[in-house]
Amino acid sequence: MAQDVSTVLLIEDDPVISKLIEFKLKRNNYKFVLRENGTSGLNAIHELRPDLVILDIMLPSVNGLEILRKIRENKDLDNIRVIMLSASMKMKDKKQAFELGAKDYIVKPFETEELMIRVKKAIEN
């Protein structure tokens, strides 16, 4: 029987970081989908219902925290796990992300191996 492949949606506008995460996720047998701005990212969440969203905070159009708030306000999407990605190490930003329901918070630059472990953990839990 074929094993279920988890879908990970990345919402990130930096092409280098996106390509790196795509490279790693595909190597780890995840289905990868990329959206480069908040609006198209939010649409993709509605359409695809991914197993996990990796969400950059600083995005064009709608920022990552706003997207997270919208996900949590929608009961149909409430079970979607979200890992926040940000260059900010500020406790205030981390706190806000966790209060809004983020599963994890990763600071850029990050070790991709660590990201993969956190992705696995977030999907398993």
Binding site: P15, I17, K19, L20, P109, F110, E111, T112
Partner: protein, 324 residues
């Protein structure tokens, strides 16, 4: 007669005014044109860079997958500076996020001749800003070229602290322990160096994923005990040793705390030594720390109370007392 002379002078003045105005107009137009041209050039370069990055990004990942050889990049960029910069920017960004074999492969990309020679030239520049750019590049490469190492060592002595620190940041990546020691020592003894900057070097002082060595610890011990070191620098070094978890230093740190030599009795040094016992959870120093619970200096007393709360299991002090 007088009226004629006045008229003639007025005419000459008017002509001079017209000439000056015309000159200023031409100069303004020229300046405007140059600004526009520079702006256009900048925009053109930005667009080209984006184009090159889009083109090279998939190739770099093909290279990481093992599907293309390193030589492909040299052929692609030739001697084109913009192309070189595009590859460099991608590789540097990726190096910050990967480790192991992938990081090694990316470092090889950075060592392509055109990139290496371009940045080597930067180190020789008269401008500090350009030299810093060069240092920042070598920070991400495999530092092995003796000419580069020598130049970085010389830059450690620069009067420009930012340039000296950039050189130290590059040199700390050297495989040679003596280069790394030189980088730490030079920055530790420099006036105006912040703890955060020093700590950044400390985190990279030991080799990736390897344990601290006895040799490194011996160097640090010698550096911290240096008689000529200012108290502030000594305290910063002690903080860096403990905050970067340099566990081989636990015993010397305890010995210094218990020593009666003057250099360890300066308030900031003493507070750093007591903090170190707490950070390393060194319960063997519990009794020595108790002596400082009523110390006149507030900073030392606070450090002692915090350490006491952590280390002494039978402690009778409450947290409220410690922070009062």
């Amino acid at each position: 007669m007088l009226l004629t002379i006045v008229n003639l002078e007025m005419e000459a003045a008017m002509q001079l005014l017209i000439a000056v105005t015309a000159l200023l107009t031409v100069a303004t137009l020229l300046l405007f044109t140059v600004t526009i041209l520079l702006r256009l050039k900048h925009n053109w370069e930005d667009n080209k860079m984006r184009e090159y990055k889009d083109q090279y990004l998939p190739i770099i990942f093909e290279y990481l997958e093992g599907n293309v050889e390193l030589s492909v990049f040299q052929n692609l960029i030739g001697s084109n500076e913009l192309k070189s910069r595009a590859i460099e920017e991608i590789a540097v960004k990726l190096i910050k996020n990967v480790e192991g074999e992938e990081a090694e492969k990316l470092k090889r990309v950075l060592m392509l001749d055109s990139l290496f020679n371009y940045h080597l030239k930067q180190l020789k520049s008269d401008s500090d800003v350009i030299k810093i750019e060069g240092c920042n590049y070598f920070r991400f490469t495999k530092l092995a070229d003796s000419q580069v190492i020598k130049m970085l060592q010389e830059l450690l002595e620069s009067r420009n602290t930012y340039l000296a620190f950039s050189a130290a940041s590059a040199l700390i990546g050297s495989e040679s322990l003596s280069d790394r020691m030189q980088a730490i020592e030079s920055m530790a003894k420099r006036n105006g160096m912040t703890k955060m900057a020093l700590l950044e070097l400390f985190y990279r002082f030991r080799r990736d994923n390897k344990s601290h060595t006895e040799e490194e610890a011996a160097f640090l011990e010698k550096l911290i005990t240096d008689e000529n070191l200012a108290s502030k620098s000594r305290a910063q070094l002690i903080q860096c040793v403990s905050e970067s978890n340099y566990y081989l230093m636990i015993k010397p740190l305890q010995n210094w705390l218990e020593s009666s030599a003057d250099r360890w009795k300066e308030s900031e040094v003493l507070a750093a030594l007591i903090d170190a016992q707490r950070i390393f959870l060194n319960s063997e120093s519990t009794e020595s720390i108790k002596k400082y619970l009523d110390y006149p200096d507030k900073k030392v007393r606070k450090a002692a109370l915090e350490a006491h709360l952590v280390l002494d299991q039978d402690q009778q002090f409450t947290f409220e007392k410690a922070i009062a």
